[in-house]
Chain length 189, copies 2
Amino acid sequence: MTPHRLSVALVHHPVYDKHKKIVATALTNLDLHDIARSSRTYGLERFYIVHPVAAQRELAARIASHWQGDAGAEKNDFRRQAIDLIEVVPDLAAAVASITARHGSAPLTCATAARESAAAPVSFAAFSATTRERPALLILGTGWGLTDELLASCDVRLPPIRGVSDYNHLSVRSACAIILDRLYGDRED
Amino acid sequence: MTPHRLSVALVHHPVYDKHKKIVATALTNLDLHDIARSSRTYGLERFYIVHPVAAQRELAARIASHWQGDAGAEKNDFRRQAIDLIEVVPDLAAAVASITARHGSAPLTCATAARESAAAPVSFAAFSATTRERPALLILGTGWGLTDELLASCDVRLPPIRGVSDYNHLSVRSACAIILDRLYGDRED
């Protein structure tokens, strides 16, 4: 099968807080590790950490560099292999520019959200197939999710993950893992 | 569709460390939250936190109670709804006894592991169907995974999660989310 060309972006701003106010959320150490490990498992090209605050970007870079280099590799090589996918950027435009520079064409941007949308979503199967034809960027929100404006600015949008209840509060780490498995998991078993 | 009767257990002992020594791992705050939220999303009955050390069990209970009661519900009701599934127990036998007391019959125990096994695994579809016929307990390991002895003592075992590479180091939080989605996710889209 043709390899896919998906990257993922974890957005810390603009996202909502619980009162639907637009905020920048704080970096979460385990988001970096879990999403990097899921990204490596499912063959993603890059994991962009998007944060508008320079001090938070420096923190992300410091966490990443802790696991890189010889000392980190000796301590835990599987963490290093995952962390190597991380690129820290100030905004989504910088992530898009990085992918465009790598491939010579802009990525298809794909939003995710736990809430339902009026617009028809792209199916997991269709989006998976598209990412084998052109570069793409999967966009995840922290906090209470990506803003309506950001969602509307994306090219396509995946459906919300539904379980067996109307409870839709997966962590962003869990949602990312499930989405990548639905797109690329080997489900023969 | 008949509702399933699955619970999940997160085992902190007996598991391996990176040198394949049998250890008890430390409780991780985000394991509690993420696995509780995934469990609530996919309709699980209970989330058992298995730890042999009393002080660690007390810590788990304290974290849980922080989100329970009126104060926690006011702060964040969706966290409380998930945390309400948690039951803290000293060993797997206590989790099995709790399910047996609830249903009047012992659960089918199902192990998970990132490493391949000589024994043929049960498929996700077959295990999902079984959990609609009888109570079952899905067993997850922290650290470097459940011991061979514990794996061998379980009734069945799910296949390892495979992505598109031979990298198989998902976090236990991500692996749990993917397994529950493979078992019960609504994949119409």
